[in-house]
Amino acid sequence: MDVVEILFTASFWVAAIRIASPLIFATMGELICERAGVLNLGIEGIMTAGAFAGWFTVYAGGDLWTGVAVAALAGAMFGLLHATLTVPLGLSQHVVGIGVTLLATSLTYFTYRLALPEVTSPPKIDAFQPLPIPGLSKIPVIGEALFAQTPLTYLAFVTVALVVWLLYRTPLGLAIRAAGENPSAVEAQGISVTAIRIGAVMAGSALMAIGGAFLTMSAFNSFFFGMINGRGWICIALVVFGSWRPGKALLGAILFAAFDAYQVRLQQITGGVVPYQIFLMMPYALSILALILVARRATYPKALMIPYQKGER
């Protein structure tokens, strides 16, 4: 197959959208946190916890959607921890974020080992299956890519629409955006900045966890160590790349995933001439490149990473 031909195959786009789905969830989650003024570096660990929580719920006999809900709840709890330390206490969002990642990851591994002490090859679950949408899925290439995915992928796209609606069309969204730009504007209107930020971090963390759960419930169908593999950090880059706008961030996630799907196929074509590690490095290198390209002209939320104390202006 030719290097350009790949781009016109349905399987390529199916893979791209599948790869994009967890990134979309987590990027939307991070975006909500940052729009409220909190950088959430707990993302990598929260995705790990979500991946495990969702998978384990189903493994233990739960329903698939219950698994998603449990993952979201686990994410929200780690979000609460993060927010408690960074919002009212105003601790460094960098250090706390890394701390939450380390804690969520280690707690997950601890629990996994506790629950399955002897297992060497990770057990599989009956995960979400593709659910082709009648009619639409028959459109060539696009139909297969967009309308023959699992329900969780559909949910990812619905999430983007909901986040757009939330941020730009609801009274709550106004408060979230204002909290990340000028928290004193929020407090002057009698709204608690602390409450808005804690809420945003919890909701955002729940989405990150669902992103993690996608991997175990809609992609790999099992849980293993190190499975998030830097996806969380990539999502942080995607938020910057998307200039803190959900639509642009979605586009970024899909572009990124397309590139990732492309490199896998390219890897097969080049057949060992180029070390495969070079291809695996690409996503991370691309994220750094994206950051460099947009960092200068990005209009970031002005209160991002700045703790707010009541009455202090």
Binding site: L91, V95, V100, S106, F110, P117, N229, G230, L291
Partner: protein
């Protein structure tokens, strides 16, 4: 709830805060031990015994603390200037790469020449590794947390590529590992027949040097000023960007020494599991030490003890050794709260 600044507590009181954080950590993690169906007292006793209960255990703890002292120093130095270096893991591997590139026969020199050369080149490599993110931060405003984190993955893949390519050990039976370093590139053992090596001594000396830099030199002063308030530091004429570059070089260099000392003193060759996350644990070590270079030695030994002890404990009790990682992560979070309490008073109204 509000935070009010308060006068700095005395040194003795200051030392109580990390102890309080550790105590809080023990309480929190004992809940997990209970969930695992074991008694916290016996588990912590086993951890302590495994970490310091015998000469073997103690030496093992000190051996394990060596890379943690280096990465802890790297993080402490960087965080002081508020350069968020989360990439000590990558810089460590660069140190390891340099050690095997130069130490497996490329430079057939005696140890007293070869080891200093390797150390200098390794430090330079690690320093350059962090210089990139530092330049991106100062020139383009790219957050260094994300770049250093992403570089960790890139470097690990790079190591994997080297180990399956140019650095592959021909005798390695296909395992991704490098050849062993020659005798002249090996750090001697402190006690014959035991694993503790002179890397530990180098680590202690490094900590003292860093302490002198931070407390006594203009560079240390500049780093602290930039870390506390870059705008005011710049206004006073301190060259903020240049200070950040110097900080990056020092921090990256220190982290690379961890890789050097692990390869040259302990493992003998480079593998993909050279570091079980020493770069990340270095953050915990540095925070527990409240970024004090001498404190880093103490906290590195403490953290190493938890890891060594937990390994021993999990063999005896049915509690997964990941409890150590949980303890370390919890300690990080309780410690940042403790540090806050040394500077601010929380008023609930």
């Amino acid at each position: 709830m509000r935070l009010e600044p308060k006068p700095a507590p005395t040194l003795a009181v200051t030392l109580l805060y990390p102890l309080g954080a550790v105590a809080a950590t023990l309480v929190i993690t004992s809940l997990l031990v209970l969930v695992a169906g074991a008694s916290p007292f016996s588990v912590f006793y086993l951890v302590a015994k495994g970490a310091a209960g015998s000469q073997f255990a103690l030496l093992e703890t000190l051996t394990r603390s060596t890379p943690l002292i280096f990465t802890g120093l790297a993080v402490a130095v960087a965080f002081r200037a508020r350069l968020w270096n989360i990439g000590a893991e990558a810089q460590l591997y660069v140190g390891g790469i340099v050690t095997v590139v130069l130490g497996t026969g490329a430079l057939p020199l005696p140890a007293f020449l070869l080891i200093p050369i390797i150390m200098v080149v390794a430090m330079a490599g690690g320093a350059l590794m962090l210089l990139g993110p530092a330049v991106l931060k100062t020139r383009f405003g790219v957050d260094e947390v994300v770049t250093t984190l992403l570089l960790n993955f890139i470097v690990l893949l790079f190591v994997s590529m080297l180990l399956e390519g140019p650095l592959k050990d021909p005798m390695g039976l296909g395992w991704p590992q490098s050849s062993k370093v020659i005798a002249g590139a090996q750090l001697p053992r402190i006690i014959q027949g035991k694993r503790l090596h002179y890397g530990f001594v180098i680590a202690i000396v490094s900590a003292l040097i860093v302490w002198v830099i931070m407390k006594k030199t203009t560079l240390g002063y500049e780093m602290r000023a930039v870390g506390h308030n870059p705008q005011a530091a710049g206004f006073a004429g301190i060259p903020v960007n240049r200070v950040l570059m110097k900080t990056a070089l020092l921090s990256g260099g220190l982290a690379a020494l961890a890789g050097f000392s692990e390869v040259s003193g302990l493992k003998g060759n480079l593998t993909l599991d050279l570091s079980p996350g020493y770069g990340y644990s270095g953050i915990v070590v540095a925070m527990l030490a409240m970024l004090n270079p001498v404190g880093v030695v103490v906290s590195a030994i403490f953290v190493a003890g938890i890891f060594v002890g937990a390994d021993a404990m999990s063999r005896a009790a049915q509690v997964p050794s990941y409890i150590a990682d949980v303890m370390v992560a919890t300690a990080l979070l309780t410690m940042v709260v403790a540090i806050l309490m040394t500077r601010f008073r929380i008023r609930w109204k």
